[in-house]
Protein backbone atom coordinates (compact mmCIF):
# COMPACT_ATOMS: atom_id res chain seq x y z
CA UNK A 1 0.00 0.00 0.00
CA UNK A 2 2.72 2.45 1.01
CA UNK A 3 4.62 1.45 -2.13
CA UNK A 4 1.69 2.51 -4.31
CA UNK A 5 1.34 5.84 -2.51
CA UNK A 6 5.05 6.51 -3.00
CA UNK A 7 4.80 5.59 -6.67
CA UNK A 8 1.91 8.01 -7.17
CA UNK A 9 3.88 10.74 -5.41
CA UNK A 10 6.88 10.21 -7.71
CA UNK A 11 4.68 10.27 -10.83
CA UNK A 12 2.94 13.45 -9.75
CA UNK A 13 6.22 15.18 -8.88
CA UNK A 14 8.00 14.38 -12.14
CA UNK A 15 4.95 15.16 -14.29
CA UNK A 16 4.64 18.48 -12.48
CA UNK A 17 8.28 19.31 -13.22
CA UNK A 18 7.66 18.55 -16.90
CA UNK A 19 4.54 20.70 -17.02
CA UNK A 20 6.34 23.58 -15.32
CA UNK A 21 9.21 23.36 -17.81
CA UNK A 22 6.85 23.45 -20.78
CA UNK A 23 4.85 26.26 -19.17
CA UNK A 24 7.97 28.38 -18.87
CA UNK A 25 8.45 28.03 -22.65
CA UNK A 26 4.89 29.05 -23.52
CA UNK A 27 4.99 31.85 -20.95
CA UNK A 28 8.01 33.36 -22.72
CA UNK A 29 6.23 33.53 -26.09
CA UNK A 30 3.15 35.01 -24.46
CA UNK A 31 5.09 37.72 -22.65
CA UNK A 32 7.08 38.54 -25.78
CA UNK A 33 3.84 39.03 -27.68
CA UNK A 34 2.50 41.29 -24.96
CA UNK A 35 5.73 43.27 -24.90
CA UNK A 36 5.58 43.79 -28.66
CA UNK A 37 2.03 45.06 -28.54
CA UNK A 38 3.01 47.32 -25.64
CA UNK A 39 5.85 48.84 -27.65
CA UNK A 40 3.53 49.30 -30.59
CA UNK A 41 1.06 51.19 -28.46
CA UNK A 42 3.94 53.22 -27.01
CA UNK A 43 4.81 54.18 -30.55
CA UNK A 44 1.23 55.17 -31.22
CA UNK A 45 0.99 57.17 -28.02
CA UNK A 46 4.18 59.07 -28.81
CA UNK A 47 3.58 59.60 -32.53
CA UNK A 48 -0.12 60.32 -32.70
CA UNK A 49 -1.17 61.06 -29.12
CA UNK A 50 1.87 63.30 -28.44
CA UNK A 51 1.74 62.08 -24.85
CA UNK A 52 4.70 62.64 -22.54
CA UNK A 53 6.65 59.50 -21.73
CA UNK A 54 5.42 58.90 -18.18
CA UNK A 55 1.79 59.40 -19.12
CA UNK A 56 2.06 57.16 -22.15
CA UNK A 57 3.71 54.37 -20.18
CA UNK A 58 1.19 54.65 -17.34
CA UNK A 59 -1.62 54.30 -19.86
CA UNK A 60 0.07 51.29 -21.47
CA UNK A 61 0.62 49.66 -18.09
CA UNK A 62 -3.12 49.78 -17.54
CA UNK A 63 -3.86 48.18 -20.90
CA UNK A 64 -1.64 45.10 -20.74
CA UNK A 65 -1.43 42.18 -18.33
CA UNK A 66 0.68 41.58 -15.29
CA UNK A 67 4.35 40.79 -15.48
CA UNK A 68 5.07 42.98 -18.49
CA UNK A 69 2.89 45.86 -17.33
CA UNK A 70 5.02 46.21 -14.20
CA UNK A 71 7.97 47.37 -16.32
CA UNK A 72 5.94 50.30 -17.62
CA UNK A 73 4.45 50.92 -14.19
CA UNK A 74 7.85 51.21 -12.51
CA UNK A 75 9.15 53.23 -15.44
CA UNK A 76 6.39 55.81 -15.09
CA UNK A 77 6.88 55.92 -11.34
CA UNK A 78 10.64 56.40 -11.64
CA UNK A 79 10.15 59.18 -14.17
CA UNK A 80 7.79 61.13 -11.95
CA UNK A 81 9.45 60.45 -8.61
CA UNK A 82 13.13 61.03 -9.24
CA UNK A 83 15.07 63.56 -11.25
CA UNK A 84 16.71 61.10 -13.64
CA UNK A 85 17.12 60.61 -17.35
CA UNK A 86 14.62 58.42 -19.15
CA UNK A 87 17.17 55.69 -19.87
CA UNK A 88 18.14 55.51 -16.19
CA UNK A 89 14.53 55.18 -15.14
CA UNK A 90 13.97 52.50 -17.79
CA UNK A 91 17.03 50.51 -16.69
CA UNK A 92 16.00 50.65 -13.04
CA UNK A 93 12.50 49.46 -13.88
CA UNK A 94 13.98 46.59 -15.91
CA UNK A 95 16.29 45.57 -13.06
CA UNK A 96 13.37 45.36 -10.66
CA UNK A 97 10.87 43.57 -12.86
CA UNK A 98 13.12 41.39 -15.00
CA UNK A 99 13.40 38.53 -12.51
CA UNK A 100 9.64 38.16 -12.34
CA UNK A 101 9.22 37.74 -16.10
CA UNK A 102 10.04 34.72 -18.25
CA UNK A 103 12.45 36.71 -20.43
CA UNK A 104 15.99 35.65 -21.16
CA UNK A 105 19.13 37.77 -21.30
CA UNK A 106 18.76 38.48 -25.03
CA UNK A 107 15.45 40.25 -24.43
CA UNK A 108 17.00 42.14 -21.54
CA UNK A 109 19.79 43.34 -23.82
CA UNK A 110 17.33 44.42 -26.52
CA UNK A 111 15.26 46.32 -23.98
CA UNK A 112 18.34 47.94 -22.44
CA UNK A 113 19.55 49.08 -25.84
CA UNK A 114 16.10 50.44 -26.52
CA UNK A 115 16.16 52.24 -23.17
CA UNK A 116 19.40 53.99 -24.09
CA UNK A 117 17.58 55.76 -26.92
CA UNK A 118 14.52 56.78 -24.91
CA UNK A 119 13.95 60.49 -24.62
CA UNK A 120 17.06 61.49 -26.55
CA UNK A 121 15.71 62.02 -30.04
CA UNK A 122 12.92 63.76 -31.86
CA UNK A 123 9.73 62.00 -32.88
CA UNK A 124 10.94 60.47 -36.13
CA UNK A 125 14.17 59.13 -34.64
CA UNK A 126 12.31 57.76 -31.65
CA UNK A 127 9.87 55.99 -33.92
CA UNK A 128 12.74 54.42 -35.82
CA UNK A 129 14.28 53.19 -32.57
CA UNK A 130 10.99 51.65 -31.49
CA UNK A 131 10.68 49.94 -34.87
CA UNK A 132 14.20 48.56 -34.46
CA UNK A 133 13.43 47.14 -31.02
CA UNK A 134 10.21 45.70 -32.43
CA UNK A 135 12.01 43.84 -35.20
CA UNK A 136 14.50 42.43 -32.72
CA UNK A 137 11.69 41.30 -30.45
CA UNK A 138 9.82 39.79 -33.38
CA UNK A 139 12.85 37.68 -34.22
CA UNK A 140 13.11 36.53 -30.60
CA UNK A 141 9.43 35.69 -30.56
CA UNK A 142 9.72 33.54 -33.68
CA UNK A 143 12.61 31.71 -32.13
CA UNK A 144 10.77 31.24 -28.84
CA UNK A 145 7.71 29.90 -30.66
CA UNK A 146 9.83 27.43 -32.58
CA UNK A 147 11.37 26.24 -29.33
CA UNK A 148 7.96 25.92 -27.72
CA UNK A 149 6.65 23.83 -30.60
CA UNK A 150 9.50 21.38 -30.51
CA UNK A 151 10.31 21.18 -26.80
CA UNK A 152 7.02 21.95 -25.05
CA UNK A 153 5.46 18.57 -25.72
CA UNK A 154 8.77 16.81 -25.15
CA UNK A 155 9.13 18.16 -21.60
CA UNK A 156 5.63 17.03 -20.62
CA UNK A 157 6.10 13.48 -21.95
CA UNK A 158 9.61 13.32 -20.57
CA UNK A 159 8.47 14.19 -17.05
CA UNK A 160 5.82 11.48 -17.01
CA UNK A 161 8.03 8.79 -18.54
CA UNK A 162 10.98 9.50 -16.28
CA UNK A 163 8.61 9.14 -13.32
CA UNK A 164 7.52 5.71 -14.60
CA UNK A 165 11.16 4.78 -15.14
CA UNK A 166 12.14 5.67 -11.58
CA UNK A 167 9.20 3.69 -10.22
CA UNK A 168 10.16 0.57 -12.16
CA UNK A 169 13.76 0.90 -11.04
CA UNK A 170 12.71 1.20 -7.40
CA UNK A 171 9.98 -1.48 -7.38
Amino acid sequence: MIKIIGAICIIIATSWIGFEASKALSERTRQLRILRSALQSLEAEIMYGHAPLHEASRRIAKQISRPVSEIFDYFAMNLIKADTTASDAWNKALEVVWKRTAFKTTELEILKQFGETLGKHDLMQQQKQIRLALTHLEREEDEAREKQASYGKMFRNLGFLIGLFIIILLM
Partner: protein
Protein backbone atom coordinates in the same frame (compact mmCIF):
# COMPACT_ATOMS: atom_id res chain seq x y z
CA UNK B 1 8.84 -18.71 -9.17
CA UNK B 2 7.16 -15.46 -8.11
CA UNK B 3 10.43 -13.56 -8.17
CA UNK B 4 11.23 -14.71 -11.71
CA UNK B 5 7.96 -13.45 -13.17
CA UNK B 6 8.46 -10.15 -11.37
CA UNK B 7 11.89 -9.70 -12.93
CA UNK B 8 10.57 -10.43 -16.41
CA UNK B 9 7.87 -7.79 -16.01
CA UNK B 10 10.42 -5.30 -14.73
CA UNK B 11 12.70 -5.83 -17.72
CA UNK B 12 9.77 -5.52 -20.12
CA UNK B 13 8.67 -2.28 -18.45
CA UNK B 14 12.13 -0.77 -18.64
CA UNK B 15 12.30 -1.74 -22.31
CA UNK B 16 8.97 -0.12 -23.14
CA UNK B 17 9.76 3.09 -21.29
CA UNK B 18 13.22 3.36 -22.82
CA UNK B 19 11.66 2.90 -26.27
CA UNK B 20 9.16 5.72 -25.59
CA UNK B 21 11.86 8.02 -24.27
CA UNK B 22 14.05 7.37 -27.30
CA UNK B 23 11.27 8.12 -29.78
CA UNK B 24 10.31 11.33 -27.98
CA UNK B 25 13.88 12.54 -27.72
CA UNK B 26 14.50 11.69 -31.37
CA UNK B 27 11.42 13.62 -32.44
CA UNK B 28 12.62 16.66 -30.53
CA UNK B 29 16.00 16.37 -32.23
CA UNK B 30 18.07 15.35 -29.21
CA UNK B 31 19.78 12.29 -30.58
CA UNK B 32 22.72 12.48 -28.16
CA UNK B 33 20.48 12.23 -25.10
CA UNK B 34 18.50 9.35 -26.56
CA UNK B 35 21.72 7.38 -26.96
CA UNK B 36 22.53 7.96 -23.29
CA UNK B 37 19.06 6.77 -22.28
CA UNK B 38 19.52 3.58 -24.26
CA UNK B 39 22.91 3.01 -22.68
CA UNK B 40 21.64 3.50 -19.12
CA UNK B 41 18.66 1.20 -19.64
CA UNK B 42 20.89 -1.44 -21.21
CA UNK B 43 23.41 -1.35 -18.36
CA UNK B 44 20.67 -1.57 -15.73
CA UNK B 45 19.08 -4.62 -17.33
CA UNK B 46 22.49 -6.18 -17.88
CA UNK B 47 23.15 -5.96 -14.14
CA UNK B 48 19.80 -7.54 -13.35
CA UNK B 49 20.35 -10.39 -15.79
CA UNK B 50 23.93 -10.88 -14.60
CA UNK B 51 22.84 -11.34 -10.97
CA UNK B 52 20.14 -13.81 -12.00
CA UNK B 53 22.53 -15.83 -14.17
CA UNK B 54 25.04 -15.78 -11.33
CA UNK B 55 22.38 -17.31 -9.05
CA UNK B 56 21.70 -19.95 -11.67
CA UNK B 57 25.37 -20.95 -11.94
CA UNK B 58 25.73 -21.12 -8.17
CA UNK B 59 22.74 -23.44 -8.02
CA UNK B 60 24.13 -25.66 -10.78
CA UNK B 61 27.46 -25.83 -8.98
CA UNK B 62 25.82 -26.82 -5.72
CA UNK B 63 23.74 -29.47 -7.47
CA UNK B 64 26.50 -31.18 -9.46
CA UNK B 65 29.56 -30.83 -7.19
CA UNK B 66 27.83 -32.00 -3.97
CA UNK B 67 30.13 -29.87 -1.82
CA UNK B 68 28.42 -26.45 -1.55
Amino acid sequence: MGIDVDVIFKIAGVGIIVAFLVTILDQAGKKEYSQWVVLIGFIYILFQVATIVNDLFQKIKSVFYFNG
